[in-house]
Subunit: 401 residues, 2 copies
């Protein structure tokens, strides 16, 4: 019997309890032991819910119980999750979590603490929900140097962009729809401003580099600036707009960013629609690899969390090495990073003039009152802004090849 | 220093030596040890190749050397690979292999032997080349019951079908092109008749079931029957034709098959083109997960093989449990398995008559001399053949939803 305590009985926590109960035989097959939820910690009561019997309000009860080998942190937010996780590890308990804020901020530190205490700290569900991306990076993709990651890492914004495109709706219209359906929070900032995707690409980049990438250092732009007009052009050009988390290594520099991109014809993420997420990586031996699945939702996320519990049980709760040192990666200056651009400027019929500045630019079928085109060559942000000096720029969206 | 011996210096073997030499720092980061190729076994000589210094012709030299902790079998074929692998394991050496014939036929037996000798037997590269599908099943997707697998498991046939569709070529024309490019063998039977895909879906199904699935029991149909006409309709209907390896659990029965399918609009494999492979799985908690990458080629395959070496080194060459028992899975009778069908029958203008038998059938824009349609409901093979009694059937292709 391998006893776990689940911290938080919200969307993910209730999913974790369900997965452990419903799929007990599967877990036993892989871990060799019966997995049992001994406690659920939550401040709330759940009258009538079977969880009542194992519900505790005081974390000390869990910390004090040596039978609990693994703590499942699915409360979210940095504190008190951070404190609880460290306390568990110091008590000799392994921890797994779906908490991307916690992992992005303190991943390296907590991994070191786990190593010092010879317990495991796993976080498969913190990126890409049910997509097995973290374990793939740590256990499978171990023979390559990876020079790029591109990820659709946020289901809410991908749902919104897909719906804007399929149904010709505005940002505000699809935001309301996503909120009504429960895909977006009442305060949607973390999703639509790209903060959620930023934490996830920070975690992936840290793992690929084996060193700390601070999410605060990552240039982050959300989808609030994407208009019906942008979507119109994206459809005419056949270049769907996606919010990407991106890492690229170029000339020994590591660049990381979150921004909306238009995706070229052969880009392997261009068909990832709706609430699905996907991560593609490019290795020097493997070439392109892509992992796709549900990036959020109670059960897919819970399944990933529970796969961590299985891994911990299988390893008798001993340390599982993950390379993520505290030393910071010096990120390249993103304003020097070059990409082709989709450009919209005010005023009709400016293509002749623009063609002189942007050789071989591809002009889209135009909407009234503006001129839109895609550059044939790549520019840094600084360069393109200089070239567009004197024009009233309506939007600039990078092209992902 | 973790010493390995590579059996076979062909396409994959030379890739393995290159990956271990070129990416030694990456391997060390993950395994904690320097990986060293101490021997390469091949019957041939390679004058002038740096491998000469470590080349041996006699396997006994490798077996007798206790410094060799891991044998990398990349010769292909059942014998003598099978004998060599078992000898290595009995000598206390771990083994990894890219050999799908060997793994499909003897996977369960060799895993038991490895367990008995407390060494590892890994085979990541045997399915999907560089796609991390085997380790994902064994280490990541461990909290779900999976009720279906669909895979594009053979790069050669996928390249051929993509080219037939993109360039309006016949099967014979694209086969010649694939042979000229080195994607297809001079004797292309294993690829085009689906035998290669069959072994791969047998391995995946065995792992998902935790029990032996004999590849001889899997109904296997290749792509030799796919004509220019089929491709014409597939394009008109927007249903690309792909050779799928398929597993489905229905009513406690496991069905497995390899056959060409037309893929519905929202099928997550429909955009997998060219030499790429992909595997999608459906779990009761995760929903759909898909893994995509290069299914063949020297370096992608070698990278997967070397990731097994890293895993073995990390585990000090001790046994890594994989659930695959010798007891056979009783496969369901594939002729009772139901699917919607694309149907072509001889003779023009038969749609009125056919509509009486096939309610709500969708008729394609017709070619001269025949009538083609897609059924609205699912039929077993037996049922559809009965319903088409009296017609001269030109082709039947199942639809994958």
């Amino acid at each position: 019997m391998f006893n776990v305590a689940v911290l938080g009985y919200g969307t993910v926590g209730s999913g974790v309890v369900k997965v452990i109960n419903d799929n007990n035989q599967v877990l036993k097959k892989f871990s060799g032991e019966e997995i049992n939820v001994k406690y659920v910690l939550d401040l709330r009561d759940f009258p009538g819910d079977p969880v009542e019997k194992i519900l505790v309000h005081d974390y000390e009860a869990i910390l004090a119980d040596d039978d609990v080998k693994c703590v499942v942190e699915v409360m979210g937010g940095v504190e008190p999750a951070n404190k609880f996780v460290r306390q568990a590890i110091e008590k000799g308990k392994s921890v797994c979590t779906s908490n991307k804020e916690l992992v992005a901020r303190y991943g390296a530190e907590i991994l070191q603490l786990a190593k010092d205490n010879n317990v495991a700290f796993l976080f498969e569900a913190s990126v890409g929900g049910g997509i097995p991306v973290i374990r793939s990076i740590n256990e499978s993709l171990t023979a390559d140097n990876f020079d790029s990651i591109a990820g659709i890492l946020n289901g809410t914004t991908n749902y919104m962009l897909t719906k804007m495109s399929n149904e010709d709706l505005t940002f505000d219209e699809v935001l309301k729809d996503a909120q009504d359906k429960g895909y977006a929070e009442r305060n949607p900032e973390a999703d639509v401003e790209g903060y959620d995707a930023c934490r996830k690409i920070a975690i992936l980049t840290s793992l690929i580099c084996g060193q700390q990438v601070d999410f605060e250092d990552i240039s982050t732009e959300g989808i609030t600036g994407i208009t019906k007009q942008d979507i119109y052009y994206s459809k005419k050009l056949g270049l769907p707009i996606k919010l990407l988390g991106l890492m690229k290594k170029e000339n020994d520099k590591v660049y990381a960013m979150v921004a909306p991109f238009m995706l070229e014809n052969d880009h392997c993420l261009r068909n990832v629609d709706g609430v699905y997420n996907a991560v593609s990586l490019h290795g020097d031996m493997l070439g392109d690899v892509m992992l796709y699945g549900q990036g959020a939702g109670s059960l897919p996320t819970a399944s990933a969390v529970v796969s961590d519990v299985v891994e911990i049980a299988k390893n008798n709760s001993k340390n599982i090495p993950i390379k993520w040192a505290k030393e910071k990666v010096a990120l390249g200056d993103i304003t020097t990073f070059k990409a082709r651009y989709f450009v919209r400027v005010e005023g009709e019929g400016q293509s002749d003039k623009l063609r002189k500045t942007f050789e071989n630019a591809c002009f889209a079928p135009q909407l009234t009152g503006e001129t839109a085109f895609v550059t044939a060559t790549a520019f840094s942000e600084k360069e393109i802004k200089e070239k567009l000096d004197g024009y009233s720029v309506l939007n600039l969206i990078r092209i992902a090849e």
